[in-house]
Structures are given as C-alpha cells and as structure tokens.
Symmetry: none
DNA sequence: TGGTATAACATGGTATTTTATGGGATTCAA
DNA sequence: TTGAATCCCATAAAATACCATGTTATACCA
C-alpha cells in the first residue's frame, strides 16, 4: 500500500466526439486506491479545467470557513464560484470520463486535451494553450528563482 | 532496519533501445526498505535528470501548500512546473526503470547513463557531460576552498 | 591468504498485460 | 421517441513482467 498520492506528469489524450477522455492511468490508480472520486471545475484565473480529489475540496471548504466570515461577501463569492461549478466525474470501465460542454468550452478544448499534474491537483488544457502557458511559467520562475529557493529552504 | 538513507556513489549503466536502465542496486535497496517509489524529473538548471523519493516530493507539496495560497499564482506556477514534469518510476523484477523520451532528450542520453548520488536526491547524466560537469565542480570547490574550511572550523 | 563456490547483478530478448481509443448496443430521461 | 449518457466489445500499441545468460562481486573454506 502506497503512502503518497500526487498527481504528476503531463499526458496528452484524445477527446472523442462524445466528449470522452481517458483519465491518465496514474490518476486512476490514485482514485481507486483511495476509494474516492475526481472533482473538476473551471479554473478561476486560467483558461483550463482544474481537477482534484473530493477530499481536497472538502479541505478547501474548511479552510474557507476558517479564514473568512460566515456572513462575508468573500465567503459567499468563493463558495458560489467553486462549489457551484464543481462536479464529480467518475470514469467508466475503460477509464474514461465525460467532460461537459461548459468545461470544454472554458478550456477551449476540442479534440485533444493535456493533463498536467500539480501535486494535490491537476489541470486539463488545450495543447496549444498549455504550451504557451508552460513557456510563460518557465520564464517567470527562472526570473524569480530566488523566490523558489526561499520557499524551499524555509 | 537502517537509520540513514542516502543516494551515493557514481554508477554507469547501459540504456537499451526501449529506454530501460538498471537502477543502481543500492538505490533499489532504499526504495524497497522504505516501501516507496522513485520520482524523476528534468533538472531546472542543468542538462540532467534528477531523481528522489516520492516522500521528498510529497513534503515539497506540503511546503508549497503551507507557504503559498491555494489561489495564488505562485502556487500555480510552482506546482505546474514541478509536478507537471515529475513522474513515478517503478522498477521491474530485474531492477530496471524505463526512462521517457522527454527525460532522455533533456539529458542528451542515448545508450549510456551515469547515476550520481546527491544524498536525498540523485542525478542521471550523459557520461561525457557529467565528466565535464565534475571537472567544473572540482575547479569551483578548489577555488573556494578557504571558505569551505572556515565554515567547518568555526 | 589464496582459491573456489555461491550469490547478486546487468543486460538482451520474449511473453504477457495494460492502456488508449474507436465503434456500437443498451439504458435512461425529457 | 429522440437525444444523450452509460456500458460493453474490439484492436493496436505501448508498457510491464518474466526468462536466460554472461559477468562481477561476495562469501566461504582450505
């Protein structure tokens, strides 16, 4: 039994006419072992789909409760945006999930999708968009390398 | 049960046409005893593959979560770069892992690879590149030797 | 200490399994 | 009843497990 569960790697899969995509087998293994489900929602800031385990969203709910006021507009807005958008996605016997029109449109995905591991989360991108975004991030992080180091060493 | 786990030594192994390489047996022993897995990714600054234990990356994920905000751009950038590139590598009954095209290309490895221990991490190099890098490092350390000594004795 | 037996290892090759993906059948709901 | 969602089957390719062999390192004994 493994001890660590991380979404990793970058894999490109096809999206068929019905909107079906194979979830990367590594991701499936995590879902199965933890006996949980995948949840997907539109990224708040980027043109991509974001996914995580149900547990992770549960933790987020707690964090939002703890860090914002029950009656605050912030809490209202956040919870509406996130949980109003999120949805469970179970995969079939061949390992595919069916992404909704809403999600596909937001990420501008048509016939190909890129899964990008983010540790506790992952993202699903249009391949061209992801390529641009990756280049942007590399430039950004290399420029600010001291920041990365600082975080690591603390 | 041993108390110390360090990747050490420098081992040269062949890479076959499928990209298979024997993981040094010492490394395998660590993975087995800790009941964990190896994770590899492209070095951010050098033309080599870097590897560590899954636990190490898990700790990093936790550190990033703790030191940056769930919605922050910093967290986004970092996790994309690190976990998007990293991948689990399990070895078969004969002790081999299968390196991906992406990794081999980044490290300019074709038919031979050098494993270099780095303590908690290790690196995999193209033999010629490693030779040059080692010479560079030796020169560098000799140049700064007084500083090194000073630190030790204080 | 020297020599031999034994075990571990690296590595080439092959067999088996898993995975991605297209297509069709069945079920469900509006 | 029609469109959509779910399930099931088929297939090719890729990943993985397994087997065999020569070599090196280790353990053992005289």
């Amino acid at each position: 039994m493994r001890k660590v569960f991380l979404f990793m790697d970058t894999v490109i899969n096809k999206v068929d006419a019905k909107g079906r995509v194979s979830l990367p087998s590594d991701y499936r293994a995590i879902v199965k072992e933890l006996e949980t489900e995948i949840v997907c929602y539109r990224s708040l800031s980027l043109p991509c789909i974001e996914g995580c385990l149900e547990e992770t969203l549960d933790k987020l709910a707690t964090d939002i409760e703890d860090s914002t006021d029950f009656f605050s507009e912030t809490q209202d807005n956040l919870t509406n945006l996130i949980f109003g958008d999120a949805k469970r996605f179970t995969f079939d016997s061949t390992g595919r999930i069916m992404l909704s029109e809403k999600l596909l449109k937001h990420a501008q995905i048509t016939d190909t999708a890129v899964f990008v591991g983010k540790g506790r989360k992952f993202q699903i991108w249009n391949p061209q968009n992801w390529q641009k975004e990756e280049e942007r991030i590399r430039r950004e992080v290399l420029k600010n390398r001291p920041v990365l180091k600082k975080n690591k060493e603390e």
